[in-house]
Amino acid sequence: MRYAPAILLGRIVRKLARWRKPGGGSAIPGLVVNRIAPGFLPRSLNSFPGGLVIVTGSSGKSTTTKMLVAALRAHGTVVFTNQSTANISQGLTSALLEQASLSGHIAGDIAVLEMDEGHGALISGTLTPRVVALTNVMVDQIDRFHDSNMVAAMLAKIAARATGTVVVNADDQYLTDLAARLPVSSAVARYGVSADVLADNPRGLGYSATTATRLDAGEGMLLTSVQGRRATVSIAGVDYPLGLPARGTHYAVDALTALCTAQAALGDRFDPVLAINAISAIPPVFGRGEIVTVRGQQVEFVLVQNPASFQLNVDSLEPKTEQILIAIGSDVRDPSYFWPVNTSGLGRVRIASGSKAHDIALQLVYDDVVVDRIEPNLGLALDDFLALPEPLAGLKTIIFSADSMRRTRTHLGLVTNKEEQE
């Protein structure tokens, strides 16, 4: 009953916070409890019988976590996880409070946490995860005050806490180096793409540094093919088909990471077919290759959050897509941001929009992309784009930055999925 007063107080604060602002105040109870009972968070997270699994890295954390949770639940495991972006300690504590009994016990077999690399290093000193999964090291302009070495060092701190297995992307040079420096007591599970998959992505997978050689089938799980929303993974020499929530090699790598981590967490209980079926059943992701019906027609939404995802999305567009609207908003503070991307694959863009319409149009024309029109007013651009006749090939496709995505969804009266706004 050590934590009963803190938990009770946390619940009261939560009630008060909601009473003041319905639906809000989710981090406040956590803040209060962390202040009066700093041991609550680590003790609760370390107490799950099946242990704690941490997913961290520069990119792909949310999707990987979502897939991993689905794969674990498919095995009948009861999973505690941090939904939405409550991946800071207050948010986590608040989420735990929702489910804690007064003794501080939380129902569940296993905890799965998505952790930002920075926050992870901050709170991981008190955590004893059984499995730590590392996605990749990418540094883009959002992160430009952090260089790759700094990110790798933060991830190494988290990985060093693992009592069981560290799951490592074998295509990422920083993570491969990190794994080589782990204490010999740590088990390492590796996953990677085949040479063919890498060759299909001539500009690479966006990692800060890619390893020179590919993983062998005997050394870990492999991604052996990606075609649209279909992929093939090779597990212990057997090929399995896999469905993805959106087109793109990065989603297939997220699924591979989730499978490799599920195997590390479940051990002998891991059944690849159960895990793959659960991942394949995940509905399409909002805003990243999501297909929505608007004003009686199908439209594909593609969210670009950094140069690497922009490049991968340009390269994985359905060939011959002829109706594209691109909208870049004020969230892209420095228009230099996207210039490392080669946008020539877009061919023709019907409308460039958003508050950075002129800047993105400028880049497009230097890449030989035809830009029919520049319309900074996004509402007007959307209305005119949707009024165009049905495309001859591909779907009407809207590529947007996060800010333009929110404005687009609001303008079109679509709900916004908070989980996907990182």
Binding site: N149, M150, D334, L362, V365
Partner: protein, 242 residues
């Protein structure tokens, strides 16, 4: 035109953090729009250097890659010096500029020695400069984005221009012009955003091989987009529109 214009992008990965390497793409595209054939040659080591070099672009990178980038650039010191002397236009952005100077003083007091090709050196500033920057220059009013934590001293004799908004070199001036070499803190697509500067470099490159430069029709449309983008920033900063 006897042969395509050969535009070298030096260390496009190590020194291309902010999309600065794209300036080579911009020069090549403007040359093509003017009816001249042009290719971008990405150079990662001296072995990649083409026989003919008509223009060179060096961008900025992260400080953790600085010494590695310097060591590779140092193997091309003779070539860089030869090009600069021969009037080959060279655009240096951020770290790329600093590495070709006398040297870079770091916050901990240590010094990364530069190649000594341009006058001056980089010294730490009290705070990082991250913002839009506007510069009055003889190539027109230049507008771009700066993000650096070192100022530049010793190049006062020949700045690129005077700062109207932002930090630049640190004492009212921005950039450096030494013959055909231009150094600047305006990172990213400075040449796309400021075609006046782009055309100055391109005119010099073409003149060296006996060609006159007349901007192509397609560049007019692009330059109109650039002007609109520049005006957006000027308005926000309370400066007159162009």
């Amino acid at each position: 035109m006897t042969r395509p214009l050969s535009i070298v992008s030096l260390l496009p990965e190590l020194l291309g953090t902010n999309g600065d390497a794209a300036n080579a793409r911009v020069l090549a595209q403007r040359a093509r729009w003017a009816g001249a054939d042009a290719t971008v040659v990405e150079v990662r080591s001296a072995a990649d250097l083409p026989d003919q070099v008509d223009a060179v672009v060096v961008g900025s990178g992260s400080d953790s890659d600085m010494v590695r980038a310097r060591d590779i650039l140092a193997t091309m010191t003779t070539e860089l010096r030869t090009w600069a002397t021969a009037g080959v236009p060279i655009l240096l952005v951020g770290t790329g500029w600093e590495l070709l100077s006398w040297g870079i003083e770091l916050a901990d007091g240590s010094v990364v020695e530069g190649l000594g090709i341009v006058a001056g050196r980089a010294v730490p500033m009290p705070a990082r400069a991250t913002d839009d920057i506007v510069v009055a220059s003889r190539f027109g009013r230049l507008i771009g984005f700066e993000n650096h934590r070192r100022s530049y001293v010793g190049g006062e004799a020949a700045p690129l221009g005077q700062v109207l908004s932002g930090s630049g070199n640190g004492a009212g001036a921005e950039g450096l012009v030494m013959g055909s070499v231009v150094g600047t803190h305006l990172h990213g697509p400075v040449l796309a955003k400021n075609p006046g500067l782009a055309d100055h470099l391109l005119r010099a490159a073409l003149a060296r091989i006996g060609h006159e430069y007349l901007p192509g029709d397609d560049s007019l449309a692009a330059d109109e987009m650039a002007r609109a983008a520049r005006n957006q920033i000027a308005v926000r900063l309370g400066l007159p529109m162009e």
